[in-house]
Symmetry: C2
Subunit: 345 residues, 2 copies
Amino acid sequence: MKNPTLHDVAALAGVSYATADRVVNRRGNVAEKSVRKVNDAVAQLGYVRNIAAAKLSKNRHHHLAFVLPDKSHDFFGRMHDQLAAAALHLKTAGVVLDVIEFEAFDARALEEALSGLIGKTYDGVAFVGQGLDKLSTSLTALRAEGTKIVTLVSDVPENNRDHYIGIDNVKAGRTAGRLIGFSHGGKAGHVVLTAGSLDLRDHSDRISGFREVIEADFPNIGISEVIETKDQAELMRKTLHQNLSDASPVTAIYNAGAGNEGLVRAVRDRDPKGAVFCIVHELSTTVCDALQDGFVDVALDQRPEIEMNRALALLQAIADEMPPPPSPELIPAIYVRDNLPTEMN
Amino acid sequence: MKNPTLHDVAALAGVSYATADRVVNRRGNVAEKSVRKVNDAVAQLGYVRNIAAAKLSKNRHHHLAFVLPDKSHDFFGRMHDQLAAAALHLKTAGVVLDVIEFEAFDARALEEALSGLIGKTYDGVAFVGQGLDKLSTSLTALRAEGTKIVTLVSDVPENNRDHYIGIDNVKAGRTAGRLIGFSHGGKAGHVVLTAGSLDLRDHSDRISGFREVIEADFPNIGISEVIETKDQAELMRKTLHQNLSDASPVTAIYNAGAGNEGLVRAVRDRDPKGAVFCIVHELSTTVCDALQDGFVDVALDQRPEIEMNRALALLQAIADEMPPPPSPELIPAIYVRDNLPTEMN
DNA sequence: CAAAAAATGATTGACGTATATCATTTTTGC
DNA sequence: GCAAAAATGATATACGTCAATCATTTTTTG
């Protein structure tokens, strides 16, 4: 009925508690015969250590750090908010969480923030990679200390981290392509493609996924060259303003990057009836409003709240030396006017 | 640095540990003055009890029961599977989970299963309501024992349960309507509507949401009367076979219920080029294949795996007398051919 | 003011694990 | 077969909370 304890295991194995402990905690200096006996007993009883007791005994406040861009963007703000919302639960779970901000899109700032964590013996670190390299040295040093590394939103090379939590951006781009294809109902069209920068892995992944689908399945839809906007709203607005001239053949816009305020303003000016089908990424209040007003038709959203929850749960599990919790694949939410979250209105 | 203990609280409040304990655990027989002092100290120190220690002390294996329909449908199978996947984590968390199966869609079977739980002092019970009434008596009895009730997928009246975990089906229907609207690219069309039964709350919610959107925003798209298929594949196939005659004006199908095998077969027969735009609910292997073959265009999926995780986390939190964990609103995933989960292929 | 009732203090033993110490036994090497 | 090395046993303390007991103090009541 009740779960077996390590005492039970020791008894069944015919060894002392001390030996059983030596085996399960890999302290060494145990004869192989004893190891076998203990492991057999563990298997037979289905023993799993009681984490509550272990935590209590070690009195080990897990130390986690989240290295996030500052709140300059709505998207990052949502990350910070979710961590704040989880504060109480973290506290009761014995997790001490440090949130370190760095200036968004500043590769050096991120690198400095990460290298500043070396030697602080964190159990786990999660950070938004923004597709940057040059982090290898810091990450290697951190991992050498036993710190687990999780990348968020944008990945780094696999051998530099333990897990990646984020969406598959090629899939996201393909999905956008499919939806734009649908929206043409078989008719021909022309899509304007924008992105912050093709140097950003997530943006370029989306673009190439998008291209794949349109080229394969919607041959009578044309695609513009990618317009890089540095994720700046005003640049976005100006560029689109030009592209959406009166005689424009544009039937759809896909923005794989940020700067949606600019996009919305341009569309509002040039396409007041919302005839152009617009797909953007990430649900900000601007985008929410635009969806309701019909200027934007679809928003693909990463749901950073869920990503934060996942990252927290994962790092805690790893720190407890547990396998990661079973969690279905993350896919971006697809918002239209009708399924917007109620809390944002 | 380290979290304060109840001893710290008692010391600061100038009372004994016993009194502090009496206050925080509401054991009564405490002077109001002491209550105030202790609460002040709690607030001042930011004391929250160490759940690990509490669990250990009480050695309280949370007892949860999940009452689920048998695996007759793929959808319910996914629920069972997710619970199985969480088994290890539940065990280490000290949760004993009983899964009780009942025959799907059998109101009496569900009622019997629930009333069978009375007197077993479960901490929490989650069940798939399937929009049935008549459960009020059992639920009231269970709750009188202190058992927390969570409904899954389909709700019961609010005053009979503590939480509902599931999607907003009106929103889901509206979303389906919007996507079908998009797919017509401004052209006229005619939609065939199917559902298991309009007596099922979730189905009728979807249908009415769908109607709202089409009628308001796509006036040149016609809607058929709802065809009720009792969620039976063969009935679905036959009915659709008739509706999709050669001269048919049908441009889209929305199935708000189950029985998608029949739908796919009918479409494959009558619409081999996939010209009719099909939206269905729930991602089964059948639907997955149909998406890839182009017979189905969009699948709205509740992601029962996530719902199970939520239900487990929520019931554990409640049992620990914690506020529910912060979790963003559940919305159905929108699958097209391009964002299918990799594990299902 | 005395007796009864209420409140408080002091203390204890679980709960299961981690970790340490020290004595004792068994195995190994020569 | 003896000393050194390796393995094992026995035992203790700590972690923070829960729950209980019992003695003592304070407050209330008539």
